[in-house]
């Protein structure tokens, strides 16, 4: 079928081949390609690339005033804002806080998600459809709404579990971070479970049969056959979780109305938000840039690290 088609229209695979009558290598279907790529390309440039550039530009400016009450003007200040960022104690405390949060919450959440996915994929569980749906339902609850709901569940007098919440104050300075971790876990376990589960479904069944014939039990199959094969999916969920953790905003912002322990600089993004409402846009822009870079480096390093480990 494709053989007679070649002289008239090049298949994409052959497009690189020069045609004898063209003076220079011509791109096939140039107009169509532009029509396909331009809508997304334009919006991506406008709402991704330009803002990134603009944030970097803003972060290099400082406000200068003539005298105390003089006219304020923005002038180029080099890395002044970045020096302020590095001297800003609360910002680094907030980074430390979300890193602690991530180091505990991400493994717990992904561990649960992996456990449920493996159980759903094993012959041990009946009613898979029901469990899959029940565990996934919290993902339909927006972070803000989940935080409001759990805020009431934690509160000492309104909670349906007041027997517990009267003796343990989940909204105290010591516990509120882990109270938020529980909200995030509640929302995202089911989502991560589905990603891992669909990776499990893609494994051909013959692989298990071979292991079973060798006398391997469910645990052994899960550990030595399934988990290595779905590692890419687990890594993917880990990266998205790391990014999500560093960006934590909605849940702590909501918790501010339940607990005074959540300060305006509780997480890095809250710091960005409160700095920009001062308003100190240049410093807030510098915070944003540092945070985005940190996120990028952390997820990229994690990706490289796990890939190298897998190669061994």
């Amino acid at each position: 079928m494709s053989a007679p088609a070649v002289p008239m229209t090049d298949a994409p695979g052959n497009a690189a081949r020069k045609r004898p009558r063209a003076a220079r290598p011509r791109v096939q279907h140039r107009g169509a390609i532009l029509a396909f790529v331009l809508p997304f390309g334009t919006l991506f440039a406008l709402f991704y690339l330009v803002p990134i550039g603009y944030a970097i530009y803003q972060s290099l400016l400082v406000i200068e005033r003539e005298g105390t009450f003089g006219q304020a003007t923005e002038v180029f200040g080099g890395l002044t804002q970045y020096i302020l960022v590095f001297q800003n104690g609360p910002f680094w405390q907030s980074i430390g806080r979300v890193l602690t949060f991530g180091a505990v919450q991400v493994p717990i959440m992904l561990g649960l998600a992996l456990l449920f996915a493996l159980l759903l994929d094993s012959p041990l569980v009946r009613g898979k459809k029901f469990f899959r749906l029940a565990f996934f339902v919290p993902y339909a609850v927006p972070g803000v709404i989940a935080a409001i709901m759990w805020g009431y569940l934690y509160s000492p007098n309104l909670s349906p579990f007041s027997a517990v919440t009267e003796s343990i104050n989940f909204l105290s300075a010591d516990l509120v971070l882990w109270a938020i971790a529980n909200v995030v876990t509640w929302v995202f376990v089911g989502y991560n479970m589905l990603i891992i589960y669909s990776a499990l479904l893609a494994i051909p069944g013959e692989l298990y049969e071979a292991a079973r014939l060798d006398g391997a039990g469910q645990l052994r199959i899960a550990w030595s056959v399934k988990i290595p094969l779905i590692m890419p999916a687990i890594i993917l969920t880990a990266i998205f979780s790391i990014i999500g953790t560093l960006q934590l905003l909605a849940e702590p912002q909501v918790f501010r109305s339940f607990s005074s322990a959540v300060t305006s600089t509780f997480t890095p993004n809250l710091t960005v938000y409160s700095t920009s409402s001062i308003p100190n846009f240049n410093l807030a822009a510098a915070f944003s840039v540092v945070l985005a870079l940190a996120t990028f480096i952390l997820s990229f390093t994690f990706l490289k690290f796990t890939q190298r480990k897998e190669a061994k």
């Binding site: 079928m1 494709s2 088609a5 298949a11 994409p12 096939q28 279907h29 169509a32 390609i33 029509a35 396909f36 809508p39 390309g41 709402f47 991704y48 803002p51 990134i52 603009y54 944030a55 803003q58 159980l119 012959p123 041990l124 469990f131 029940a134 565990f135 339902v137 993902y139 927006p142 972070g143 803000v144 709404i145 409001i148 709901m149 009431y152 569940l153 309104l158 349906p160 479904l201 893609a202 051909p204 890419p232 990266i239 560093l246 905003l249 909605a250 912002q253 909501v254 501010r256 109305s257 938000y273 846009f281 822009a285 944003s288 945070l291 985005a292 990028f296 990229f300 990706l303 890939q307």
Partner: protein, 305 residues
Amino acid sequence: MSTLTPTIPAKPARGSRSTEAKAPRAQRESPFARASAMIVMAVFTLYFLVPIWWLLVAASKSRSQFNSTNPLWFADFSLFENIGNLMAYRDGVYLKWMLNSALYAGGGALVGTIIAGMCGYALAKYNFPGRELIFNVVLGGVLVPATALALPLFLIFSQISLTNTFWSVFLPSLVSPFGVYLARIYASASVPDELIEAARLDGAGELRTFFTVSVRMMVPALVTVFLFQFVAIWNNFFLPLIMLRDETLFPVTLGLYAWNSQVNQIPVLRDYVLIGALLSIIPLIIIFLLLQRFWRNGLSAGSVK
């Protein structure tokens, strides 16, 4: 980001396996293992569903019964009166928020999916200079958190007086780098070159081929992209928080957040926050249920062809 590559194109394999392999194995597991697995699943079902159950019960109570009756069981069922009160409060501003959310998320995800699908398809099926560069830049975009863009977008939009408008939230929501990534992976695995060739022989233009032939093969990926983006926009909080001042433009998340932070001054808002929270999760659950079926149909159709 190449990590996703093996999982996505392999997905259609699922139908073949689950039918043949499951039945004979079920008998061999020990009752103890089965019982403990079921207990784990049951306990966590409670963990995931009790908060929503509580919300439903709480939203169905009048204020006087909220504190005085069993919090996990119904008293006099006044859910519909409560909903009526919520809708009437402040000229139905809550309904306006729900409509806004539907517009931001529905419109944004629809347009966003189409343009991401087109771009991913072009990156998969055409050879042109700069293709890899574009793809890598888009991939980098996947790793840039959307919240990092909210503040600079606000600064840019305030220069052109576009803050506090519908467009300030809608337009940035259209861009989904992950959608382009997924569409490209899926298009190269599931749209055969021969099919595009055949359409060309029939005299169809490239765009028409895409919208009439290729799109059908890409349905599972496109539905997934739509779903992800719908949820992302529906849940988005930072962008509207930073952009919007006018209450009538709020999405429902921002509106409920604003009410919740005024509960101490205006206690009646607590009732509305709870009922509003319950109502706000229903559309997403419906979308999930509807699209789940659609998505599965798409998957099985894809594996037959």
